[in-house]
């Protein structure tokens, strides 16, 4: 029993170490890939970012709407419904925007990346590149990683903006909060530091979600079952990592 736990722990350390090395190699190759293969990176920004916009916008609208409803119904008890904008704004910009965008990103783009790379491996496409003297890490992994890293903060910005509009729609248009109060209260209460907190989180989550997706795909077992498992692991591990890092960043900033 104790031996099993120890073996699992050592196995985890091995994997974690290998992943850190993988991450460093991705970072090391990133400048040259950005410079020499920018078109590949741009395509991946489209692939991971632009293709996720619809799901991000729809979810942002409804999450914002729910926040507006919850904020209004609770603040109304204290006759403070004018501060609905502050409540929704703070929640969206500092927490919910980056976290939910990262979770949606893992579900939409992360799984696509992991399964695509896993299938490329299973069908010998990565080996074929190696045999053509083209490093698949530079050609396949780094552009996808950078595409995700660039897309995440942009998607978070879109999610948060649409979320604020969703909250506005519910609070102002449906429940009758004064439009001036909604935006003015939010503007006066919100500091640039709060926005920075959201930006920092979205950048960190972008690195985490992209790294995990590319890592899982690149190291998947090259069978149908292996690719499926890699895809599932991408979502599960990204979700856990994002929530853990969210807590750590929040604790560090506050």
């Amino acid at each position: 029993m104790f031996r099993d736990i120890w073996a699992t722990f050592i196995g985890f350390l091995h994997t974690f170490g290998a992943m850190c090395l993988f991450f460093l190699r991705l970072l090391l190759y990133s400048p040259s890939v950005l410079y020499k293969r920018f078109s590949l990176v741009a395509y991946q920004v489209y692939n991971t970012g632009a293709l996720s916009i619809v799901i991000i916008m729809v979810c942002g609208l409804f999450v914002g709407g729910v926040l507006g409803l919850q904020a209004y119904s609770n603040l109304e008890r204290f006759n403070a419904e004018d501060t609905t904008g502050i409540f929704a704004g703070f929640a969206l910009i500092k927490e919910i925007g980056p976290v939910i965008t990262a979770l949606l990103f893992a579900g939409r783009a992360g799984t696509a990346l992991a399964s695509e790379i896993g299938l490329m491996k299973a069908t010998d496409q990565l080996s074929a590149m190696e045999m053509m003297a083209v490093d698949p890490l530079r050609y396949v992994a780094v552009p996808r990683f950078l595409g995700g890293v660039i897309s995440m903060p942009l998607l978070t910005a879109i999610f948060t903006t649409i979320g604020l509009l969703g909250a506005h729609l519910v609070a102002v248009e449906l429940l009758g909060v004064d439009v001036g109060a909604y935006w003015q209260q939010l503007q006066s209460a919100l500091d640039m530091e709060d926005v920075w907190e959201g930006i920092i989180k979205s950048v960190v989550f972008g690195f985490i979600a992209s790294l995990l997706a590319v890592w899982e795909g690149y190291n998947s077992v090259p069978t149908a079952e292996g690719v499926g498992r890699a895809t599932t692991r991408t979502v599960v591990i990204t979700a856990i990592a994002v929530l853990v890092f969210d807590f750590m960043i929040t604790a560090w900033i506050l």
Binding site: T123, D124, S127, A128, A133, V134
Partner: protein, 232 residues
């Protein structure tokens, strides 16, 4: 040649250092492959062309772009020159007309021919074929066999073909090795191998169900397992 699972593909992967040996040396063109640096290895691989079992075409690129891929990566040729070279190579495998199709639209045999065009586009010194006949209909098999021979004769290159298809190999090979249990069981010209006295080689060449490679996988006693009693 050799039975399935005997290590033929592994041998190819060792030659090209897709795998590294635990011990021993792999010497290719005078170099110890395992000791090459990455840049030296990639330089060596540029002199190799490899045809994978399923073609291994890059699925997000058209046939034309697949064949052009090594040229774009390793040369500074202009677009019109690349176009001409690619069309010539595709013509050599009979698929110039399929240049703008996607890999998903190709049959298994066509995909392998495109992969062959891609493998020869850099004019390699050595061409490696990993099970080129597996899963093909007789016509496609004949086409691939003819192409292997043509490439060998026309380009004057060395071809290494790994296969368990005795008949097809006999037609294309100048010299064959039969590998079994991690050893070279026999070698010689295909017609010499047919007269090989070794039981294992005979079983393999004639496709016999039972012999040194037993029909029954190791199992407990049949009677004991069925009736639950020890035989007398």
């Amino acid at each position: 040649m050799g039975p399935s699972g005997t290590g033929k593909t592994t041998l190819l992967q060792l030659i090209t250092r897709q795998l590294s040996p635990d011990r021993g040396q792999i010497i290719v063109a005078g170099d110890d492959v395992a000791s090459l640096s990455i840049s030296e290895l990639y330089k060596m691989r540029q002199r190799f062309g490899m045809l994978f079992q399923n073609g291994a075409l890059l699925t997000d690129m058209s046939v034309f772009e697949n064949v052009a891929f090594p040229l774009r990566e390793h040369t500074k040729l202009g677009e019109s020159l690349i176009r001409n070279v690619v069309l010539m190579k595709l013509h050599a495998v009979g698929l110039r007309g399929a240049a703008y199709m996607m890999p998903a639209q190709l049959s298994g045999g066509m995909a392998r021919r495109v992969a062959l065009a891609r493998a020869i586009v850099m004019d390699p010194a050595v061409l490696i074929y990993d099970e080129p006949f597996v899963g093909l209909d007789p016509i496609s098999m004949g086409v691939i066999g003819k192409l292997i021979q043509q490439m060998n004769d026309a380009l004057g290159i060395t071809s290494i073909v790994v296969s368990h298809d005795v008949r097809e190999i006999a037609e294309v090979a100048d010299y064959s090795y039969v590998i079994a249990d991690g050893h070279v069981a026999a070698s010689g010209r295909p017609d010499e191998l047919r007269d090989e006295p070794s039981e294992l080689v005979r079983q393999f060449m004639l496709g016999l169900a039972d012999g040194p490679v037993a029909f029954h996988y190791d199992a407990p006693d049949y009677e004991e397992q069925l009736l639950g009693k020890k035989p007398d």
